[in-house]
């Protein structure tokens, strides 16, 4: 039987706190969502000034990365390159700002951020994942 790592609430807290720190440092108001590899929500914060739309988008980007095991930017670029049929893939939000969480070679979840420019959203998500070590 194969065993693989799994995100705990403590892990989610570490990711969320580091991501929030990165956002605060830059004076960005965002929503940060953490999901497991099945796309189930484990943790979410919506900072003051971020909108309900940001919360929903953060979840959608995080789910895209978690379930497809690649960053949501990969989807954005594929579609931009002309592969418009990819828009029909289930539960995919092809907008930068969602990153998969990879630990010991295993895809265990995703982080999605929404609120600022897409590359800045991704920067926040990356800072969060980095805190896992």
């Amino acid at each position: 039987m194969k065993s693989r790592p799994m995100l705990t609430l403590d892990d989610c807290r570490k990711i969320s706190a580091a991501a929030e720190e990165e956002a605060k440092k830059n004076h960005w108001n965002v929503a940060i969502a953490i999901l497991d590899d099945g796309g189930h929500l484990l943790h979410l914060i919506r900072m003051d000034g971020a909108s309900p739309f940001n919360a929903r988008t953060a979840i959608a980007k995080g789910r895209t990365a978690a379930e497809s095991r690649r960053s949501s930017l990969v989807w954005e670029e594929r579609i931009k390159a002309g592969r418009t049929s990819m828009l029909g893939m289930p539960d995919i939000t092809p907008v930068q700002g969602g990153l998969p969480i990879v630990i010991e070679g295993a895809y265990i979840g995703g982080v999605g951020v929404s609120g600022v420019q897409s590359h800045e959203d991704e920067q926040i998500a990356a800072a969060g994942i980095k805190a896992l070590g």
Partner: protein, 174 residues
């Protein structure tokens, strides 16, 4: 041309039904018309710091009792501000906790109010047809200075366990 008289007749029948008075049912408590509306007004949306404080109190109470819960905090409109799933909490509760919080905020009352009314039976059987509502206890408004600034929803245990944790969280945000 052939179908026209029938269409006209059908139209008259439906119109008659639409304008008919529905006779009152003296046994139905919903037919009383109260003089006043009793409600707690909405205030400004809860800040993230206070949402975290409410969730932390709820989590501490869950840990103390050894219960695994999902905890959601929403603003007055029911939109998500904070969420966390404790390890080993059942998966169904991820969405139920959010739904309870949303119901408590959007209907500005604890979800236990609906649960109790529904349990009264027949005349309250319409309640589940209302929009976006869950009637399981565990959702409570967060009230500060007499105003609803958000709500907290908890799911994972029995309704009574959920409500105990939810109330602990709502109280911490005072």
């Amino acid at each position: 041309m052939k179908g026209k008289p029938f269409a006209l007749a059908a139209g008259l029948i439906f119109a008659a039904a639409a304008f008919a008075q529905v006779p009152p049912d003296p046994n139905n408590p919903n037919e009383a018309v109260p003089e006043k509306m009793v409600y707690t007004p909405y205030g400004e949306t809860i800040k993230l710091d206070m949402a975290k404080k409410a969730a932390a109190a709820a989590l501490a109470e869950s840990e103390k009792r050894g219960w695994a819960m999902c905890i959601a905090v929403v603003g007055p409109t029911g939109d998500l501000i904070y969420f966390e799933k404790m390890d080993d909490c059942q998966w169904a509760s991820v969405s139920i906790a959010q739904h309870k919080a949303r119901t408590a905020a959007k209907y500005r009352r604890p979800t236990v109010v609906f649960e109790r009314l529904l349990a009264k039976g027949g005349f309250f059987a319409y309640l589940p047809t209302l929009d976006d509502i869950t009637m399981s206890r565990g959702g409570n408004p967060i009230v500060v200075n007499g105003k609803i600034i958000g709500a907290i929803g908890v799911s994972g245990g029995t309704g009574s366990q959920d409500d105990t944790i939810s109330q602990a969280g709502a109280k911490a945000a005072q």
